[in-house]
């Protein structure tokens, strides 16, 4: 009886995974696309739990959820039409992508279904996971793990170096340089300053300076300095 229920559950999850995967490419809203992809992954994770790969399935749910949240966040930040209020196309080279996707799915389907896969349960005493780990990494296990920790530390350091302390801190942007407007000319941001008022409210153009009131004198100096630099470039 359990087998019947597992079969029914498998087909429900499989159809739902495909349906949500299809919805990703027909919706115009970036948030809907991100979370439709998440729904597809959730159904794949459920199938993995059905296959008794319990940890892999549940961990897939956890990781994919966080990833899709981050993706939705970036989509809202960077897409011009993230709500999909105007129609848009999610893919480039529409016909080719359909043909390519179908060829890929068909190829994987054939590769998975045609061969006669071995059906030999592995005795637990063999220590499959340990053997697999040694086969993959051998004596390099320590090196591999150390590189992982080093990469993580590098990422954290990059975040620390590039983060600013926000608008409530007086020296939030001290020492920072705005990115160039023209990629070929590293100083091009300086040319974007408003030209019309030379000694007036020039810092209206710098978005980042906090606390105009408290550091009025410093700001004046800074502006004159930048104006002089501006003159050289201009």
């Amino acid at each position: 009886m359990t087998g019947v229920w597992v079969g029914i559950a498998f087909w429900i999850f499989a159809v739902a995974a495909l349906w949500f995967g299809w919805r990703v490419f027909v919706t115009d809203s970036m948030v809907r696309a991100s979370y439709a992809l998440l729904a597809s992954f959730v159904n794949v994770g459920a199938i993995m739990v059905l296959l008794l790969a319990e940890y892999v399935g549940v961990a897939l749910l956890f990781m994919m959820t966080v990833e899709m949240v981050v993706m939705a966040l970036f989509m809202i930040m960077f897409m011009m039409n993230s709500a999909g209020l105007n129609p848009m196309q999610m893919v480039h080279q529409h016909r080719w992508s359909i043909a390519g996707g179908m060829a890929m799915a068909g190829g994987f389907g054939i590769a998975l279904t045609l061969p006669s896969w071995p059906d030999r349960p592995i005795p637990t005493a063999v220590g499959t996971i340990r053997a697999l780990g040694l086969e993959l990494l051998g004596g390099s296990m320590l090196v591999f793990e150390s590189v992982g920790a080093t990469l993580l530390a590098t990422m954290l350091a990059a975040v620390v170096l590039s983060s600013s302390r926000g608008r409530y801190t007086a020296d939030a942007h001290e020492g920072s340089i705005p990115p160039p407007l023209d990629p070929d000319e590293p100083d091009s941001w300086a040319h974007a300053e408003p030209d019309e008022d030379d000694d007036g409210d020039a810092h209206a153009g710098h978005g980042g300076h906090a606390d105009h009131g408290e550091h009025a004198d410093d700001e004046e100096h800074a502006d004159h300095g930048e104006d002089a630099e501006h003159g050289e470039h201009g």
Binding site: Y55, A59, T65, L73, A83, Y168, T169
Partner: protein, 307 residues
């Protein structure tokens, strides 16, 4: 060890009962803790609010993402139910004792975050969207803390199943063995339920944030989910850090209830007394203080678990 499972046919009603009762207890406790409200008023305040929201005519916005907005409160309440399935309800009793209980609880946490984002996105309104986006940016920093403290609690038990984690505390509760775990987990609870110092999603500077446009039954189910999640976090803390059903004289389920109520009181009291952090300060405190403390907690648990 979990030895008894709730009958699958009864699991649904049991979950609804626990979530409804837990949400009501949470609402009453939160009302009592607020200065100036006695228990005579506190017991009926949540019921009055439910009645108002039930008959309230819902408002809507211009071009909302209707399907997602409708789905968000249901998903938020559903995550509370998902988390509840792995939490012990008595001595060796749970709805589902999966081997990966800790990870299932983590999945419920991140699903709750998705529900929060949908609630922010659904109404197509700028203040909910701002509050929700800000919430997501801060959330990424303390979600790591949650996994650190939960994995640290799983290490002495050598199992991810919550029943095994409770069983491993028969001699010594995790709150003594790993004193950092419970306070850090409380911070995560405030974040996921948008309560107290980490309530950046519903703050007054965004006129109510993600629920600024929610009304009627949408708001009712949302608040139910939020209060139920707070109760579930208290029950999880009782199971993972306070020894669960272990305790002298009284039966296990009484100990579970008592511990859950104590944690619930502490969580709501702290949420009421601590100030709401600004976004920047929340991120700085999380990355420079809470995350290293979480790592110390995990590393200490790892050293202790070495043979």
């Amino acid at each position: 060890m979990i030895t008894t499972h709730v009958n699958p046919l009864l699991a649904g009603p049991v979950a609804v009962l626990v979530l409804a009762g837990g949400a009501y207890l949470t609402a009453v406790t939160a009302a009592i803790i607020r200065p100036g409200i006695g228990i005579g008023t506190a017991w009926r305040q949540p019921l009055q609010r439910v009645a108002v929201l039930l008959v309230q005519r819902p408002t809507t916005t211009e071009r909302p993402d209707g399907a997602l907005w409708w789905f968000a409160p249901a998903a938020y309440l559903g995550t509370a139910a998902l988390a509840l399935t792995v939490i012990p309800l008595g001595t060796g009793v749970a709805i589902a004792d999966v081997r990966t209980g800790i990870v299932v609880f983590g999945v419920a946490e991140v699903f709750a975050i998705v529900a929060l984002h949908l609630q922010a996105w659904g109404p197509n309104s700028i203040l909910p969207l701002m509050a929700g986006t800000r919430y997501l940016a801060v959330m990424l920093s303390y979600e790591l803390v949650s996994m650190f403290v939960l994995i640290a609690a799983a290490l002495p038990a050598e199992s991810l199943a919550i029943g095994d984690i409770v069983a491993s505390q028969a001699d010594l509760w995790n709150v003594i063995r790993q004193p950092l775990g419970l306070p850090l987990f409380a911070v995560v609870a405030w974040g996921i339920t948008t309560w107290g110092p980490l309530d950046l999603a519903r703050s007054p500077d965004t006129a109510g944030g993600i629920v600024a446009e929610a009304s009627g039954r949408n708001r009712l189910v949302w608040e139910w989910g939020r209060h139920a999640l707070m109760f579930v976090f208290a029950a999880m803390s009782a199971a993972v850090f306070l020894g669960g059903w272990h305790g002298p004289f009284l039966p296990g389920w009484v100990w579970l209830c008592l511990k859950t109520l104590c944690v619930l009181w502490a969580l709501l009291w702290g949420a009421d007394r601590l100030p709401r952090l600004s976004t920047e300060r929340a991120v700085v405190i999380t990355w420079t203080l809470l995350l290293p403390l979480g790592f110390v907690d995990l590393a200490a648990a790892g050293v202790e678990a070495l043979p």
